[in-house]
């Protein structure tokens, strides 16, 4: 069938790009998110205000606007970014805002007594973070972080408006060439669902590992 012969050769490539966008953006977003969370929790005013402003602006504006701004807007300022880096940049910046709040919630959930006990064992702030607080915070933060990973994976579909050849672009391309929209969009939706189911399963395994008594 025309539809299958058109779709199958390109499906692998589209899936790879989607995964690349999702995983890279999540990783970069997480690193950025930890930094912003720590800034938000800081006792100093400057990092705190910057972090609050960042989260407010990025969470408060649509992801599509952010994607279009980075890809079509920046060239007006002379900054020209290729499609895939632009998509990753937008998804990372966006993801970091949400992830930072998830990490912050995790850290806040750790009993203050832990910090005090670490201090009394003469650990530095960094040491107490790394060995006592963050491991405990991770357990609380894991479910919302897992959800955010899945959301980022779905948000990669917005890269289709800035010429990236990922799953949504494939569905649009074959759908409008063959006029078989339902078929294309259902199949592609199914692929997204499979990817996210794998992510959910991974999250569950991780949750169980972290739940082991220490």
């Amino acid at each position: 069938m025309d539809l299958i012969s058109r779709t199958i050769p390109l499906l692998g490539q589209a899936v790879v790009i989607t995964l690349l966008l999702g995983i890279t953006s999540f990783l970069i977003g997480s690193v950025l998110g930890v930094g912003i969370a720590l800034g938000r929790l800081s006792t100093h005013r400057v990092p705190r205000y910057l972090a609050v402003a960042y989260v407010s602006v990025v969470r408060g504006t649509p992801l599509l606007i952010q994607v279009l701004l980075i890809y079509f807007g920046l060239p007006q300022l002379g900054i020209v970014i290729p499609p895939i880096p632009a998509a990753i940049a937008a998804l990372s910046v966006n993801g970091a805002a949400y992830l930072s709040e998830n990490f912050r919630a995790g850290v806040l959930s750790v009993d203050r007594g832990q910090r005090e006990a670490a201090h009394s064992l003469s650990m530095t702030y960094a040491q107490s973070l790394r060995r006592i607080i963050l491991p405990q915070a991770a357990r609380i933060a894991l479910p919302p972080v897992g959800s955010r990973f899945i959301a980022i994976m779905k948000d990669t579909s917005l890269a289709s408006v800035i010429t990236v050849f990922e799953l949504t672009r494939l569905a649009n391309m074959v759908g409008s060439a063959t006029f078989r929209y339902i078929q294309m969009f259902v199949v592609v939706a199914f692929v997204y669902w499979v990817i996210n189911t794998v992510l959910s399963a991974g999250q569950e395994i991780l949750e169980r590992r972290l739940a082991r008594p220490y």
Binding site: L3, N172, M173, S176, R180, I182, F190
Partner: protein
């Protein structure tokens, strides 16, 4: 362990879903997705009568393909396609035209879903599209050219596009043309303006599309692109109406024929297309 088995069987069951949908690709299979209407005949009743009684004709174009459809300084929709649509509506006895923004990917689905009554956007007549919508007689003959960034000497023919990044409007005939070029990496955009802008900024090596649009943007907006000499192809474009609406299509054809014979179409095209008289081209290449 039972939880895993549960999830496994769920995954297995769900895997069958798209396979079931893809079944029925052979001839004569009654079930299966190939027999779903590729296009819904969503427009019941006579659209022409409905449009006349409502007094509004809804026309779709991109509003981002100068000089065919664009938005001027006072936010009015103007252009060759706009003037043609207004003129046709007047001759159909419809007082008002409501212009709706669409893209070459949404024009046909929009017609089928009843989002608009006509597409006057230089839609190229193809066999595939004829199965989905009804076309009027041609009202536009357009030359398609390759555009490259100013000062790019490396591309001068279609063959030079192998291995290059080619920008096109998504859903257009040019997207099909570009994909047929061996080794070209096709980048699709919502409209020609975005596509040409990326050629100018260097994210695409060439653009395939209407010579007029590229020339207009180069002149009026100072976009640093230039056409590669010669036309790649010439396309015959027509207005599109919902499938089966014979009254509407015939009325539009009569209006168009009048516009050609009384000189209105020539006037409109000379105004927007740099003195070119589309009517002469139509009489030569694409009489209906």
């Amino acid at each position: 362990m039972t939880r895993h088995r549960h999830r496994l069987s769920l995954l297995l069951a769900a895997t069958l879903l798209p396979l079931a949908l893809s079944a029925g690709c052979g001839n004569g299979t009654p079930a299966g997705v190939d027999n779903l209407p590729a296009a819904g005949h969503a427009r019941e009743g006579d659209v022409l009568t409905a449009v006349r009684s409502k007094g509004v004709l809804r026309v779709a174009n991109t509003q981002a393909n100068p000089p065919y459809s664009m938005v001027d300084k006072s936010n009015h929709v103007v252009g060759f396609d706009v003037d043609v649509a207004n003129e046709v509506a007047k001759r159909l006895g419809v007082t008002k035209v409501e212009f709706v923004v669409g893209t070459f990917q949404t024009f046909i689905p929009g017609l089928q879903a009843g989002k608009w009554d006509a597409v006057v956007a230089g839609l190229t007549v193809t066999e595939e599209r004829k199965k989905q919508v009804d076309f009027s007689c041609p009202y536009q003959v357009n030359g398609v050219s390759i555009f490259v960034a100013d000062g790019n000497p490396t591309i001068s023919t279609e063959a030079d596009l192998a291995g290059k990044r080619v920008a096109v409007s998504a859903g257009t005939k040019q997207e099909e043309q570009a994909r047929a070029i061996n080794g070209a990496k096709v980048l699709t955009y919502d409209n020609s303006t975005l596509a040409l802008k990326d050629v100018a900024t260097g994210r695409a090596d060439a653009y395939i599309g209407s010579k007029f649009t590229g020339a207009y943007l180069a002149e009026q907006n100072g976009l640093t692109v230039k056409p590669v000499s010669g036309y790649l192809s010439s396309e015959v474009n027509a207005m599109a109406f919902p499938k089966g609406q014979q009254e509407l299509t015939k009325a539009a054809d009569n209006a168009l024929a009048d516009m050609i014979s009384d000189g209105t179409l020539s006037e409109i095209s000379r105004h927007w297309l740099g003195g070119l008289d589309v009517a002469t081209e139509l009489r030569r290449k694409a009489a209906c």
